[in-house]
């Protein structure tokens, strides 16, 4: 089971800024272990952010994204006290969903 994300969401003006830290190894598939064997690629492939049942961000990621990635973005709308929900799915099918209350 993947570890929780750290999410911050703040309304500023007519948009909401969301900052997310995700816990993931993000193996590129290019590295080798101590025995010379390739470490298989293992990375977050899809990120989906929903607000009020609507998808506000959908992203496809690859192995070039850093370990423990940080994602910041803004979407139009959003209200204090409401929730944003973030889901990632990695290439092994592992997934994690967390939500945060907008401040």
């Amino acid at each position: 089971m993947a570890d929780p994300m750290k999410i911050r969401a703040n309304v500023s003006g007519d948009s909401t800024e969301v900052k997310v830290l995700m816990n993931h190894e993000m193996e590129t598939g290019q590295r080798k272990d101590a025995n010379g064997a390739t470490i298989p690629a293992w990375f977050i492939q899809n990120v989906t952010v929903t607000y009020g049942g609507k998808t506000v961000l959908s992203a496809q990621w690859g192995p070039a994204v850093a370990k423990n990635p940080f994602l910041a973005f803004k979407f139009k709308g959003g209200a204090k006290g409401e929730k944003v929900q973030i889901t990632w799915v990695d290439n092994k099918g592992d997934k994690r969903t967390d939500e945060a209350v907008i401040a």
């Binding site: 929780p4 830290l21 423990n68 940080f70 910041a72």
Partner: protein
């Protein structure tokens, strides 16, 4: 004569042209690293360790099925806020000066009923290996962010630890005749492009101590102060510094006390 002069002038210009980029390169690299840190400050993955550490702190585990919420870090059982800024310190119940990691081991043994070996297991994380100790350190230290460093050496045992730590700091030995002071006793020393703090000055000691623990981007790990000392010893080709050993506590005591007065500002982020 005129031709020779011109040649000198030309060579001079060539030498200048060569020298300039190197000098510029060093200066800008330091600036670039500072910029890089500032850019990462907003999304410091150390927070992931803080969250995980808080969970471990509150989880009832071990034979005692107790959480660490009654662990006394020096300000009373369960008080975490600001505790790290006054550590290492003398603990009467253990009759010993302890740094944070040593105290956490003590609490895991006394409160949770773990064996000492279990409590000290896996002090530093690595790829696919998460260290509970580093997560706990991240959580506890994050609760001291902004608190002023206030390490006492009033108790005789605290003073003794400080003195021993000072000795270790200035002690030179090993295959390279090296000591902490070799790298950290002068301004402007570097390892590759990494500026090293001069720990013999007040500002240097404050800036260095108050920014550990830190998330090391190059390792993808949060590193505790015990790890920092352990790795310094490795780099000096000293025998391995044993986790939570008296020597490690004494050296921490020396460096922490020298940082007194500065606001604690960690877990930080480093390249």
């Amino acid at each position: 004569m005129a031709v020779a002069n011109r040649r000198i002038v030309r060579w001079g210009a060539f030498a200048l042209a060569l020298a300039a980029p190197i000098v510029l390169g060093q200066g800008s690299a330091v600036d670039e690293i500072a910029k890089y840190r500032a850019a990462l400050q907003d999304g410091n993955p150390a927070e992931l360790w803080e969250v995980r550490g808080e969970g471990i702190w509150k989880a009832p585990v071990g034979p005692g099925k107790a959480s660490l919420e009654k662990c006394d870090l020096g300000l009373g059982p369960g008080v975490v806020k600001g505790a790290y800024a006054a550590m290492p310190r003398y603990f009467a119940d253990a009759d010993k000066v302890m740094d944070l990691e040593t105290r956490l081991v003590w609490c895991r043994v006394k409160l949770q009923g773990m064996s000492e070996a279990d409590a000290k297991k896996n002090p530093f994380g690595g790829p696919n290996n998460k260290s509970d100790m580093e997560a706990l350190v991240a959580f506890v230290t994050s609760e001291s962010r902004g608190a002023r460093m206030n390490v006492s050496i009033d108790h005789p045992k605290e003073r003794e630890a400080y003195r021993i730590g000072e000795k270790i700091f200035y002690f030179r030995g090993g295959p390279h005749d090296f000591g902490c002071v070799t790298c950290h006793g002068e301004d402007g020393k570097r390892i590759r492009l990494q500026d090293l703090p001069n720990l013999t000055t007040k500002e240097g000691a404050q800036k260095a101590y108050t920014t550990w623990p830190a998330y090391r981007v190059s390792q993808g790990e949060l590193r505790s102060f015990q790890w920092r000392l352990n790795d310094c010893f490795r780099q000096q080709r000293f025998p391995e510094l044993v986790f939570t050993s008296d020597a490690s506590i004494a050296l921490t005591m020396y460096l922490a006390r020298n940082a007194n007065g500065a606001p604690f500002d960690a877990p930080a982020i480093k390249r």
